[in-house]
Symmetry: D2
Subunit: 363 residues, 4 copies
């Protein structure tokens, strides 16, 4: 059991919210992948909260690649990205109050680490660590793009408001990847933002569903058992704080369908074998079939709310109340979007390097 | 990328539908776990189709433990279970027709294995291999029971019909584990069976949602990133043929909730820290919090249907039709139930052995 | 910690000396590797003891490939080879005497497995399990040969008698692979055999050094740290019972050399970059340089001797004596040779599949 | 294939000789291990060259633990140690000359990484990276000491000069761990130093054998196949630049012994089961037997020498000569000693965490 994702391409993340820095080490990257620092910065910006719908904590998110890159390209040896922690408020350094926050990892972490955990600002559990995943993922996304593999995510539902569906994957993905609030339909976007602001005003928070498309994958990737495409993606996606469900092709909404409605008939189109529908989300038997891989992540409402909540003081072992202070988001779904893209890209790089060899993505 | 599940307790499965046998090797089991061959047989029976709602292919499912057990207990060295294939119809051995079945792995497998795959009866992709998982899982389930950890699954929804919810985990799990058709509410069970028979009569198939509860887990199990409880369970669950979605605590239905509704307040009850609600499904920050772990699997309708379907002849590369012959289930959700329990048990054993050491489950 | 070798190509072995069978599962083999059952049988024969210099236990070593092969070629899914145990003497089934054999795993195993281990005939520790490695290795050796990669081992030293050195790797390897007693020099072979027979007559045993050459490896294989060629080979080689030392290029004999004598100057020869000498054994910085990979294994004298030995009765916790009965070898070095070739081949297949992708060896 | 050591306790190293920094991430450490920064600094000093027998490049070796430690103790989450590179000479930044150094990784790395490698000062292959291993290993050594497990290494042979043998492990290890030049016999130490200086004066280099003892290990640690104690240690040890051979209990010198001489009879001594001799080096069947684990590493002479050497210009693909400039050691064996201790400690921590659980070393 480890804090490492992947085997052929393996990412290890480290750091705590209030430590010196966070970071990621990516091992197994092909030599010769071009590093686009502007793109990494762009991706970090998408993750960074901003404006009314975000937390007020704004960080510079400076990052430094300290190894594994030479002459602007990957060397093939471990690439380490470091993101210094700035803007850490000293008042946060108080002794642990004993009050575990509902919906947070405080209590579970205390049981696991026996009180040795860095409890400040959620420590190693902080959503802050997803910045390391986003930086690492940016390298993966760039490498995949060179191979014609695109990844894009939209907020399919937030606070009960539905976005439109994908209509043209190529165009939609391009559009989404340039948006701060990744919603295909403008009206839905405005309604979602209004709902988030309303929740904020109430000291509350909202969640939703992210839907992701990956296009350009060759058929034949994945394993029949355990290292299925669904299994490998979901293992990674459940690492993203607040993700509590992962479905492929809208599976939970389609469980009432009959086999004759759900099966995706094969057809030759444009000289290629395709399926007429894509309920199986580009995956049959755990293996890609050449159609877009489509998955959804259920994102729970942000656990940090400003209403008073019942909880336990684990130092005194007595029932108590907590009112969370500080800078927090009334929603993180719009920020989680780029994290989903990032971990998905890392998983796909791992699968491709396993199948086609360690040089594949750098060729 | 491998056909192996787990690291501290690792299961590798092998075999094809029409080969000599299928089997599983479990490595990393603690020495001294009692082997109950009757229970293994019982579990295999739950997976075996029977009666009107099942396929007509009936197998003896004899199994032999050929290593790793001595004097009725595990030795601590790799345990290999072999399940011979019987009742293989010779007519199935025909040359590959070129017609890939919609919703099946035929085409994806052909792309992955370049035509070297054993295509007979779905080969290594056959649901038949889940018998090896069930046999291996039975050992895990027994070992967990000795530690007070119980696992049970019901068909929460099938063909649009909802079962009742869990009310008393202990009693419900015990009841479910003795049932062939694991539904808590009798009326719902009958309605589901009728719907399955109706689909069968139409040459069609149905799917649904399985819901599973794991009770008795100590708080503090799991990792904050990647090897989260959600991630490890989902990676395994997506191996089960037809599972296309995994959610914890009904996440997809709860995405409209506010944080104040979703967060699970902590409270001291019976001298123990518990949560009032359990929307987080016993897991905070990827780590158990001592509450029951609850998850749902979306099971797609069985892809083998008897209606004519459009498909492609990949030998001739032309559009064609297929009408599937033979013995097949109009639903596999009631059989998949015990597979879910089995892989969940194997994952939990792996996590416990990692956390508490390799001897833990045998002590 | 597992009984599995490799990651891209992974071998798991199972079984005990006195169980129903032993076997190996190989996962990650490329699809389309031709299976030569005669060659597998040939390799098993090389491992099988025969004549005066071997034990009297002769087994048929029947093997069955029960999965992963279709139409005479690998499918790409897990290949399981089973070797039934025959000729198991019932008298061996006695209760554990409490007397742990010096130089054997009896005591260490008892500490590890707390008495649950199958102690009969060394159980899972039996040299018998190397038959599974040899069968699996035969598949690897065949696949490598198709890529121009050859492996051969000779007894470089036995009972104080030295063999000649390799002179022409191609011819020497071909010759060795057809010999039962793999010694390049006939006179040395006869002297070694005489020494082994003499030890047998005295109820004693002898050891020696095996030297192996692998030719045809491309430069650039291996990792700079941890998964070095030396590290990966040695980890596997130390699994072979009685191997207690592994050196590359005769390292232990060359520690007195100066850098100017040891360094291997590069030179262009036949249009290729080669080294003049090969003290580094084809490996620089953990990575192949295109020269033959040469390594030696120190093989301790067989621990099963017929002289009385001091030991402890661990049941009574008192000092005692033991006189080992039964069928045993006065030397296993000539049989271990093919095991060395086998595990080396499996490691090389793993490294090649990692570097060039999972299809590489089947193309 | 990865630059990661271990599974339960896993170390990943990153960095290049002329980059911003090098470092290590250790994942899987128990929570609650006390961090002694003075001891880490002490260990780094032992690795640092000094005086006449060392290179003139002196570095401050400042290190920073940037994650995984809170309140002076490990948290249980990934611990990252960063060691900045200082004193990097700008003249070293020249374009790659095309001349590959004999005995170095230059050519092999160029084949593996296709010219994208950071060639400056050996890049990721630099011995400089062992500082990261030493820093990480210091944490492991401290944790093991708390459990009564001690590790010590002496230069058993250098430039043809033999040191004395271990006589009292406890005292010898304590003495060695405080010495800069770890030789038990003073006369031998002086002779070795003189030989190293003589080699330096000739522009040449020397090698030798390091011998290591690990005491205090419980019996029962290790696996029978593949993850044997010998296999796991050797895989790690071969990562240390210049190590080309690993033997347990002096195996290469003992291959002429008879079984009756080599077997280690068991005896009850001080109420404990021990062996009279320790030729098997504390390991039977891959598993510890409670006796000290003893191993030797053959260290080749440093490849950086100042004599002119034949080599190839791989840019021009023609034969050429090279004369290495700069700061280099005429021997690295005395510095490699602490690296051996470090990686051995990391391997043992990994094995203990696997066997006894992730909390074991922090309790």
């Amino acid at each position: 059991m480890k804090n490492t994702l992947g085997s052929s391409v393996a990412v290890t993340i480290f750091g705590e919210s209030h430590g010196e820095c966070i970071g990621a080490v990516i091992d197994g990257l092909a030599p010769g992948i071009k590093i686009d620092e502007d793109f990494i910065a762009h991706q970090l910006t998408l993750r960074r909260p901003a404006g009314k719908t975000g937390t007020k904590r704004v960080e510079k998110d400076d990052f430094r690649i300290v190894s594994g890159v030479f002459g602007g390209k990957t060397t093939g040896t471990p690439l380490c990205i470091i993101i210094p922690n700035e803007n850490v408020k000293s008042a946060d350094y108080e002794a642990f109050s004993g009050l575990v926050r509902p919906g947070h990892a405080d209590y579970a972490a205390n049981c696991k680490y026996h009180g040795f955990e860095d409890y400040r600002g959620a420590g190693h559990f902080s959503g802050r660590l997803t910045a390391a995943l986003v930086a690492a993922g940016a390298v993966a996304i760039s490498a995949l793009k060179e191979k014609g593999i695109l990844i894009g995510t939209h907020i399919a539902r937030c606070a009960g408001i539905d976005d439109a569906n994908f209509t043209d994957y190529g165009k939609d993905i391009e559009k989404l990847n340039s948006m701060n609030f990744a919603v295909l339909d403008d009206k839905a976007a405005n309604d979602m933002k209004a709902a988030i602001e309303k929740a904020a005003a109430e000291g509350d928070s909202v969640g939703g569903i992210l839907e992701t498309a990956i296009t350009g994958l060759e058929p034949g990737i994945g394993e029949p058992w355990f290292d299925t495409v669904e299994g490998m993606l979901s293992r990674a996606l459940f690492s993203i704080p607040a993700v509590k469900g992962v479905q492929f092709g809208g599976a939970f909404e389609k469980t009432d369908l009959k086999g004759s409605e759900y099966n995706d008939p094969f057809v030759i189109k444009d000289g290629k074998i395709q399926t007429v529908t894509n309920n199986n989300a580009g995956i049959n038997g755990g293996i890609t079939n050449g159609m877009p891989v489509i998955f959804g992540c259920a994102v729970k409402p942000t656990p940090s709310i400003f209403k008073e909540q019942k909880t336990v003081d684990i130092n005194k072992m007595e029932n108590s109340e907590i009112r969370i202070q500080g800078r927090h988001d009334p929603a993180i779904i719009h920020r989680a979007r780029v994290v989903v893209d990032s971990v998905a890209a890392l998983v796909i790089c791992d699968m491709l390097a396993g199948r086609y060899g360690t040089d594949y993505l750098g060729e």
